[in-house]
Symmetry: C2
DNA sequence: TTATGCAATTTGATATAGCAAACGCCATGT
DNA sequence: ACATGGCGTTTGCTATATCAAATTGCATAA
C-alpha cells in the first residue's frame, strides 16, 4: 500500500489553446500592439496563429466580457476607443482599489516582498533610461500587481486586472511619451518607503500620486 | 436617391444562444437555484437546454472568467463555495463601489428616477410581506442597479455586476432567512430620502448600512 | 459618372466530429 | 474483504462543417 506522505499540489492541466490565445491578445492590448479601432477577425487570427477558429473565438469573447473589446453590429470584435470620461472613471476606480490594496500591503509586506518590488522597480528604471517603452510597461505592470499580491485580495486583484486590460491601449500611450522626471522623485520610491514603514496612509497616497501623474500625461492624448 | 433623414439607431442583432444560456445560468446563480459544489457538465446542460454544446461551453467560460464559477482539474465547471474572507472582501468592495455610485446618484437623480426606484422598492416590500424570496431577490437587484444606472458609471456598474454574480449563491441565502425588520427602518428608505435631498454623504451611508445588515445575516451561514 | 443589381466571398453563430484523458464499474485475484 | 487491472463511458478541448447574413466587386444600365 502506498499513500501520499505529504500533501502534494495537484497537477494543474496544461494551458488550453483558448488561454494561450487570450494571454497573447491581452498582452498585445496592454502593450499597445493593438490600436483602438482595429478589428479582430477570429477566422483570420486563427490562420495567423495556426489554430482553429474555436479557441480564438472563445478568447475574443472573454475579452469582450471583460470590456477590453467591443462587438460591432455584426459581431466582429474591435478595440474600442476610450472616451475621456470612461478613461477618467477607470482611473478613479484604480486609485481607490489600488490605493486600498497598497494600504493593506503596508500592513503585510515582508522584507522579501520589498526586495522583490525593489528589483522590479530597478528594472523599470533601467528600461526608462534606455528609453525602452516595452520594458517600462511590463515592469510597471509587474510592480503594481506585485503590490496587490502582497495585499492578498484576490477579488480586488481580478477587478484591477480587468480595468488594466480595458485601459490597456490607452495606458500604453505612456510608452510613446516618456514620463518626465518628477521633482518629488518617482512615486514608486514613495510607495516602497511607505510599505517598509508599514504606513498605510502614505502607501495609499503614493499610489494616488503615481496614477494621477499617469493620467496627467495620458489625458491630453485622448 | 434615398438617404437617411434621421440618425436611426442601428438594429442590434438578436441575442445569441450563448447570451441566452449565460443569462439563464447567471439568473439561476443569483437566484440560488445553483448551489455551491454543484457541477455543470456542458454537454449535459446542452441536452437539457436543447442546444449544441458550443454555446453552453462559451457561457460557462464567461462565468468562469467573471469568477462566478470555477474549473476543476479536469476543466469541469462548478459553483464554488465562497470562503468567508472572500465573501467579506466582496462585501467591502460592494460597500465602496455601490456607496460611490449612490453618492454620485444623489447629485444626478431626477424626480422620475426616484419614482421608478420607489416603485421597485414597493414591489420588494410586497414580496417580503408575502414571504416570496424570489421576488425580494429580483427587486432588490433591480433597486441596487437602478441606483447605479442613475450614477452613469458604466465601468463601475460592470464591476458590481461581476461581484453580484460571484456572491450570487451566497446572497440568495437571504431568501431563506427573512430579513428582520430593523428598528431604524429599511435602508432603502434612507437611501431614497438621501437621493431626494441630493445628500451624497447620507446616500453612501445608507448603502453601507444596507449591505452591512445583509452581511450580518449571511455571514453566520457560511 | 453614378446608381443598381447580382454573384462570389467573407464572417459570425451553431452544430457536429474526433481525440485523448479521466472516470467508473466490474471481474479477478490475493 | 480488499486491492488490482481492464474496458467501456463520460467529458473537455479542438477542429471541421453548415448556414445565414452581410459585404464586396464588378458588370450593366440610366
Amino acid at each position: 500500500m502506498m499513500t501520499a506522505i505529504a500533501p502534494l499540489a495537484p497537477v494543474d492541466r496544461d494551458e488550453t489553446l483558448t488561454e494561450k490565445v487570450y494571454s497573447r491578445l491581452r498582452s498585445a492590448l496592454v502593450g499597445g500592439r493593438l490600436v483602438p479601432g482595429q478589428k479582430l477577425i477570429h477566422r483570420q487570427l486563427a490562420v495567423e496563429l495556426g489554430v482553429s477558429p474555436t479557441p480564438v473565438r472563445e478568447a475574443l469573447l472573454r475579452l469582450v466580457s471583460e470590456g477590453a473589446l467591443d462587438l460591432d453590429a455584426r459581431g466582429i470584435a474591435w478595440v474600442p476607443r476610450l472616451p475621456p470620461e470612461r478613461y477618467a472613471e477607470i482611473m478613479d476606480l484604480r486609485v481607490e482599489l489600488e490605493g486600498r490594496a497598497a494600504a493593506r500591503a503596508a500592513t503585510l509586506a515582508t522584507a522579501a516582498d520589498l526586495a522583490a518590488l525593489r528589483a522590479i522597480h530597478a528594472r523599470l528604471m533601467v528600461g526608462r533610461r534606455a528609453k525602452d517603452g516595452a520594458v517600462v510597461l511590463a515592469e510597471n505592470e509587474r510592480f503594481h500587481f506585485g503590490v496587490i499580491a502582497i495585499a492578498r485580495m484576490p477579488v480586488l486583484q481580478r477587478v484591477v486586472e480587468t480595468l488594466w486590460t480595458q485601459a490597456g491601449p490607452t495606458i500604453s500611450l505612456l510608452s510613446a511619451v516618456p514620463r518626465p522626471v518628477s521633482p518629488a522623485g518617482h512615486p514608486h520610491d514613495d510607495l516602497l518607503r511607505a510599505l517598509k514603514a508599514h504606513d498605510s496612509v502614505a502607501a495609499r497616497a503614493a499610489v494616488e500620486r503615481d496614477l494621477r501623474e499617469h493620467a496627467v500625461i495620458v489625458a491630453p492624448l485622448l
